[in-house]
């Protein structure tokens, strides 16, 4: 039986606590009385995963069994989540591979010839052939790539299809192949409460003009949080779109959840609570930290990005998207939810080396922003862990470095847009259309491995709620110039950061440290 989530109150016996800071980490002593949110202990993985997959496909929720839905002569499209989840990428074989192999086995048994596999990458960069192979496995890759295994292209006008408009006037436009299929099988990995369910097809296969209805400042400011779907305007929009899709298409959703085994055995101390580190963990910490700090930056990044998570799969659920997602959410929260009594004046987060948009890439300053003020700040249900007007303290070096191939529009966004304004509303009004329709960005998105031109703006919107909520943002160890360009302050040490924060929140602030990853979602009462 795994232990539930836990909130530690720091006292004299509390050891120094681990803080992620990009491609590195440190131990930090927090002031007495600080609260620390830990996720529930890692849940046990399913023992007979193939058996569970078979069971889920044969006993779906709200749908006929898959072998009854699949018929000879049909047009079948299998869509799968792209490389943005899970994080870090899971050790192979990826759960998507295992599920796709089962689905293809059934399709082959039924004599289905017209099968296509599509990565639901929306406006994310295309996955490289190597990344596709890693996700779907050697056998599937060899059989389907490149003609029948490909990335979704949100800018291929001829290959998009309008399904209709929601009652709110939102256009639903998705990949034509999927729209014209007799059956869409969507293979999902849910790592956070925001993903999966209504989001899968309506976002993963959508075009820019469909996505803009929910990826905007207004919606994100009214998504509190976007990891709490009932209180997320973004998810309300997903729901409306998914309803329309459900009326017009046949979707068979297969969702999975993983446990909190985020780091491999050699880094196991990162998965554990600090006071439970044994001698080996302590020695490993010292050795890894010393070696990591000595490595040149390029090599250090390479090593971190080669790290694969030994995630265990905790659930496989199949059937109608809405019913499946209810079960998925339950399993996901069981692994991540920790109750917390009320917000504090100051919230602290250590930002790791990876976020959904820098897999095999560089965590540029905009992605640091979106990870901190977007993803991590929004890991709550009820209310943020920081009170309105409070201060967020993040740990990250915030280096001014960008991946030139993956993030070309991010470079321009940082250099040109943020030099002019950091206000999400002003950015949306003045720059979104230019970035979204810039032919060069579109060309690179379609033919190279670049994120869509509008993507950095979405990342900025991602933090719009936090920007409105927080009174100040401080980066410990952040590059001063780069951080200032984004409108934030830097501090050399936690003591300095707390001193700066006291200007805003008073002399004796309450402090909460959100200890993640492994991911913990705060249920703030």
């Amino acid at each position: 039986m795994s232990r539930p989530g836990f909130v530690l109150e720091v006292d004299e016996r509390t050891p120094a606590l681990l803080m992620h800071e990009g491609e590195g980490f440190r131990l930090e002593r927090l002031p007495l009385g600080s609260r620390v949110i830990y996720p529930p202990e890692s849940l046990p993985a399913l023992r007979d995963l193939d058996g569970e997959i078979r069971r889920a496909l044969a006993n779906p929720l709200g749908r006929e069994p898959l072998h009854e839905l699949i018929k000879a002569g049909m047009k079948l499209t299998i869509v799968f989540d792209d490389l943005s989840i899970p994080l870090p990428p899971m050790q192979t074989p990826d759960i998507r591979q295992r599920i796709i192999e089962h689905v293809l086995e059934i399709a082959a048994g039924k004599g289905v010839d017209d099968v296509e596999l599509i990565a639901g990458n929306a406006l994310h960069r295309r996955m490289t052939p190597a990344e596709l192979k890693r996700t779907v496995g050697e056998r599937v890759f060899r059989s389907f790539f490149p003609r029948h295994l490909r990335n979704h292209d949100a800018e291929d006008r001829g290959q998009l299809s309008v399904i209709g408009h929601t009652p709110h006037g939102e256009i639903v436009e998705i990949n034509r192949r999927a729209a014209e299929s007799d059956l869409i099988v969507y293979v999902n990995v849910s790592l956070t409460a925001m993903s999966g369910g209504p989001k899968s097809v309506s976002v993963g296969l959508a075009s820019y003009r469909s996505l803009k209805h929910h990826h905007n400042v207004h919606t994100l400011r009214h998504s509190r949080s976007f990891n709490d779907p009932p209180n997320s305007a973004m998810h309300h929009s997903y729901d409306r779109m998914a309803g329309l899709l459900g009326d017009n298409l046949k979707i068979f959703q297969i969702e999975t959840t993983v446990n909190n085994n985020t780091f491999p055995t050699q880094l196991n101390f990162l998965n554990k609570r600090e006071w439970e580190w044994n001698l080996k963990d302590q020695a490993t910490y010292l050795a890894v930290k010393r070696a990591n700090d000595m490595l040149p930056p390029g090599r250090r990044r390479q090593i971190w990005h080669r790290t694969a998570a030994p995630y265990g799969v905790t659930s496989v659920t199949a059937g109608a998207p809405e019913e499946v997602h209810t079960v998925t959410m339950r399993n996901l929260l069981r692994q991540q939810l920790t109750e917390l009594d009320g917000p504090s004046d100051i919230g602290i987060w250590g930002l790791p080396y990876i976020c959904p948009y820098n897999v095999n890439s560089i965590m540029n300053p905009i992605l640091v922003f979106s990870l901190g003020l977007g993803y991590f700040f929004n890991l709550y249900r009820g209310q943020p862990i920081v009170r309105k007007g409070g201060v967020a303290i993040f740990y990250h070096p915030v280096r001014n470095e960008f991946h030139p191939v993956h993030h070309p529009s991010y470079i321009d966004f940082f250099e040109e847009v943020l030099a002019e304004t950091t206000d999400p509303v002003a950015i949306e009004a003045k720059f979104e259309e230019h970035f979204a329709t810039d032919p060069w960005y579109t060309h690179l998105y379609r033919n190279s491995y670049a994120y869509h031109g509008v993507h950095p703006l979405y990342m900025w919107y991602w933090g719009a709620h936090a920007l409105e909520h927080l009174g100040d943002v401080i980066f410990v160890g952040g590059d001063r110039k780069t951080t200032a360009r984004m409108g934030f302050r830097t501090a050399s040490t936690l003591d300095d950061a707390l001193e700066m924060a006291r200007e805003r929140v008073g002399g004796s602030p309450s402090i909460t440290y959100h200890h993640t990853p492994p991911l913990a979602m705060a249920d703030v009462r």
Partner: protein, 396 residues
């Protein structure tokens, strides 16, 4: 006797300056050592003689330090011009002065600005085809006539130059200044006439997008001239320093770009594609319709990489750097030179100077005795927040 700053022949100093400023951080080094290494000396010479009738002695009131003067002092200018100057000479071709003799149409004691080009008329020779066509900046006779060789006043032994207490000028070179125009604004007329000439060297279609590389005196005045004499569309200016960015906007720039990766910054505004060669700077496929290179050559590469196929690059500053000409071939560009001024450029510059926001362009005026400081200041003008440094030769 005439106190004068004289540029003299000194191969040792020439090569020393050239070597030092060609090194890494050469520009910064130039600011520190330009004056000390340059073949320049402050000496007393007899007053210059009047070559013939129609010439007058002029007492310089204020005389600017131009980028081409600095290129000369640091050995960066091309030796190409050594054939059309005479040594030793007194530099200074941006001159506001007072006449000391009566000449046709200009009584003694007039406050004048000098058009420095020494064409056929001042030289007293039969006019060449260019001077006949009122394009004396192209004069073929700049090595002959009543004064020694020299492309302009300020490069000619016999006329002396603005960095002295007295020079001689032909009446055709003189333009009487209106009373309302102060000396510091008036000294900007010569570079302004060059900027007007530069803009007139090419046809600028209405709405055309323009890149101006450099935001020193020449760049800023080129922006001003573009706004005054053309109906061009957006003007993008590459500027290094904050005060240059402010001035560029004041002159009418649409957008000011930083010097690091200007092609990238320009790409989004022009809807171009960016190409990354394996070596060398990135360039645009697309870009602006025209570019004006106003940095004495170092920005020519930027201009060539930022202009659309079939576009035009105008070379305004005196070039002193090598450049990869492949874009001219591959993108079928037109490269146009623009030197000095001609025709109506000078009168138009005088008219424009009376209404243009030129106040504050000259913010440092030195006596000749402090010439080392003046040259050092001018060499580091950008970093020091200055646009134009000048001499007041009559000041002690």
């Amino acid at each position: 006797m005439n106190l004068t700053l004289e540029y003299h022949r000194s191969p040792a100093r020439y090569f020393a300056g050239r070597t030092v400023t060609a090194a890494v951080h050469g520009a910064r080094t130039a600011a520190a050592v330009a004056a000390n290494l340059s073949p320049l000396r402050l000496i007393t010479r007899p007053d210059p003689r009047l070559p013939e009738d129609g010439w007058t002695r002029v007492k310089p009131i204020i005389s600017g330090i131009c980028g081409s003067d600095l290129g000369l002092l640091t050995g960066r200018n091309s030796p190409y011009l050594s054939a059309v100057i005479s040594l030793p000479f007194t530099p200074g071709h941006e001159v506001v002065g007072e006449t000391l003799d009566d000449v046709p149409g200009i009584p003694r004691g007039s406050r004048v600005v000098i058009d420095p080009v020494l064409g056929c008329l001042p030289r007293g020779v039969d006019t060449c085809q260019w001077c006949d066509a009122d394009q004396h900046s192209r004069c073929d006779h700049i090595t002959t006539g009543v004064v020694s060789a020299g492309i302009q006043t300020g490069f000619c032994t016999d006329t002396s130059g603005g960095w002295s207490q007295m020079l001689v000028a032909h009446h055709s070179q003189l333009h009487v200044l209106p009373d309302g125009l102060d000396d510091r604004s008036a000294v900007m007329i010569e570079p302004l006439s060059c900027a007007i000439h530069t803009v007139r060297r090419v046809s600028v279609p209405d709405g055309a997008s323009v890149l101006v590389v450099g935001a020193g005196t020449v760049g800023l005045l080129t922006v001003l001239a573009l706004r005054e004499y053309t109906k061009c569309g957006p003007i993008y200016v590459v500027a290094r320093y904050p005060h240059q960015r402010e001035r560029a906007r004041e002159m009418g720039a649409t957008e000011v770009l930083a010097t690091n990766r200007p092609a990238r910054a320009l790409r989004r505004s022009t809807g171009a594609f960016l190409a990354h060669p394996e070596r060398g700077d990135e360039y645009l496929l697309g870009g602006t319709d025209l570019a004006f290179e106003c940095t004495a050559g170092s920005g020519l590469d930027t201009a060539l990489r930022a202009v659309r196929a079939g576009g035009t690059v105008v070379l305004s500053g005196m070039p002193n750097a090598g450049v990869d000409l492949t874009p001219i071939w591959f993108r079928e560009l037109q490269l146009v030179g623009a030197y000095a001024s001609g025709g109506q450029d000078f009168p138009d510059a005088i008219a424009l100077a009376q209404q243009a926001p030129l106040a504050g362009f000259v913010d440092a005026v030195y006596p000749l005795a402090r010439w080392r400081e003046a040259i050092g200041h001018a060499s580091a003008a950008g970093r020091l927040g200055t646009i134009k440094v000048a001499f007041d030769p009559q000041k002690d």
